[in-house]
Symmetry: C2
């Protein structure tokens, strides 16, 4: 069993690659729910949707969120009515939020709803929320403590970041399916996808029981650097690192994860950093990490699994 | 001031006619909210929407509900997710429900939300819900007591009707704007639009304070028969009359309203019934009541106002 930790776009791409090379019962994709929020009365779970849409092959690769072939009649009508339009909801995407909200209102859990939606999207691999308990990523900026979507969408990541908090995390438990995986003896590796270390992977690691479990693991953990050539391929990871006075590099990613990861996969563009990272105790694999095609995703997934096998201390 | 009581399609058409011949401050359109219900977590107010869309010129004249030029991407996506699709919500229409639900959730009243939506739709005449208190039309059928939309949409009016109840009506109050109109001395006439007497007009008359007030009025009340040539132009009025062992005719409409109305407008197709109706104490005006065009609506509105003037006992 491979356990993947994923957030948004980059995470979804590698999760999709893993789903292409690992059988459905051999992979559990644990998804960040720290971005989840209520908007227009709807429960919106951006990372779960991005992973789900990506694995279903329906994601919008231009925007990085939402569905391919989306239409916007609802949004245009809402704008005419003076409604809140800063968070864009496509006509088809809206069905996901309405159906999720309805099912949660009927008493189902986020895990249960996610499983049902995945089934409807024809996804055979396990996509599980990190927790069914509410955890809200808060972005500390100079002066204001912002809910994640306020920072990320409404303010377009403009405020300077000073830190992060994950409201609700200290009392949150891993979701039931994640707990079952944690209780099993069959995990061969965990792969931290190239998602934002602070706001995509951070919230997952902020769940105490999960953090304790992963620190006591007996399987290798491999992370894929979301920083390539000093830049984030997508999203504010690089900007956040700079604002937190951290070097924007794969080395800084290695330092950020520290002893948590056994190995870091860095892009060929960063291979000069390999000795420095290894000198600090993290093993390195160098490969192409930019996933422009399905083949790229599958190859990187295979590389990550192979790398983890070489790190397995039990072998 | 003209007060119009309206339900769905037929009511909306005459309300639109009245708005074409009466200045904005001279007309209050009181709309049935007995059909309102919560669906998919949204507060849906079918008659308010039909009247609003019709006065805005955006109604879908093919279906009799919803918006012209509507698209259905949301509904198709919801169907793929296994959601409830028996009540059709168009992509643009959905914005009305989401925005209304959001505003109600923020503490606004149905009256307040309706006023704001009407403003956004560019409607200058007053459309007011009969009440801000919840009133739910229940259809008594042989064996089952059905919520109105269950009967009307899901079961397509198939169950045989035995009666109606208006849950919440006995403790409901007229909406604030309706109350203001009721307290004024400036009403010249009330016009009961050609809406279903049982489930469109009935709920309005089921509000005790309104019923008392209208029975003690000093202005004429004119109704327009929704039955033409023994048939309802739209909706289940004729079917309901037959099931309630009532003759399906304009005469039966006159008997149903009884002393409440001073005059009934019947279609030229029914002019043979005029003597019988007048013999029972209701004055009759005969005109074309089928509203195929905006001109038809305006003409019928003028006819209704003129008829009411001739009935004014104060003149």
């Amino acid at each position: 069993m491979i356990v993947a930790l994923a957030g948004g776009v980059g995470g979804a791409k590698l999760a999709d690659g893993l789903a292409r090379v690992v059988a459905p019962d051999g992979l559990t994709i644990v998804v960040n729910t720290g971005d989840d929020f209520e908007h227009l009365g709807l429960y919106i779970s951006p990372d779960l949707d991005t992973v789900m849409y990506t694995l279903a092959g329906h994601n919008n690769s231009n925007t990085g969120w939402g569905l391919a072939g989306e239409t916007w009649a609802f949004m245009a009508a809402l704008e005419r009515l003076g409604g809140e339009t800063w968070f864009r909801l496509g006509d088809q995407d809206l069905a996901t939020h309405i159906e999720r909200t309805r099912r949660l209102g009927d008493g189902d859990t986020l895990s249960g709803v996610t499983a049902e939606l995945c089934k409807r999207f024809g996804i055979r691999h396990s996509i599980v929320p990190m927790s069914d308990d509410p955890i809200s990523t808060m972005v500390l900026t100079n002066g204001e403590r912002l809910a994640f979507q306020e920072y990320f969408v409404r303010l377009r990541c403009m405020p300077r970041v000073a830190g992060f908090e994950f409201d609700g995390s200290t009392t949150a438990y891993p979701s039931p399916k994640l707990s079952t995986v944690m209780d099993s003896d069959s995990i061969s590796a965990a792969i931290i996808c190239p998602s934002n270390p602070y706001v995509s992977v951070g919230p997952i690691l902020a769940i105490p029981k999960f953090a304790r479990w992963i620190s006591e693991r007996n399987f290798p953990i491999v992370a894929v650097s979301p920083i390539v050539g000093g830049k984030a391929l997508k999203g504010p990871a690089a900007k956040m690192m700079a604002e937190l006075d951290t070097e924007v590099s794969a080395l800084a990613v290695a330092r950020h994860y520290g002893a948590l990861v056994d190995g870091l996969i860095i892009d060929v563009a960063d291979q000069v950093l390999a000795p420095a990272i290894e000198a600090e105790g993290t093993r390195v694999a160098v490969t192409g990490t930019i996933m422009n095609s399905a083949a790229d995703r599958a190859r990187l997934a295979k590389d990550a699994i192979t790398f983890a096998e070489t790190l397995d201390t039990r072998l």
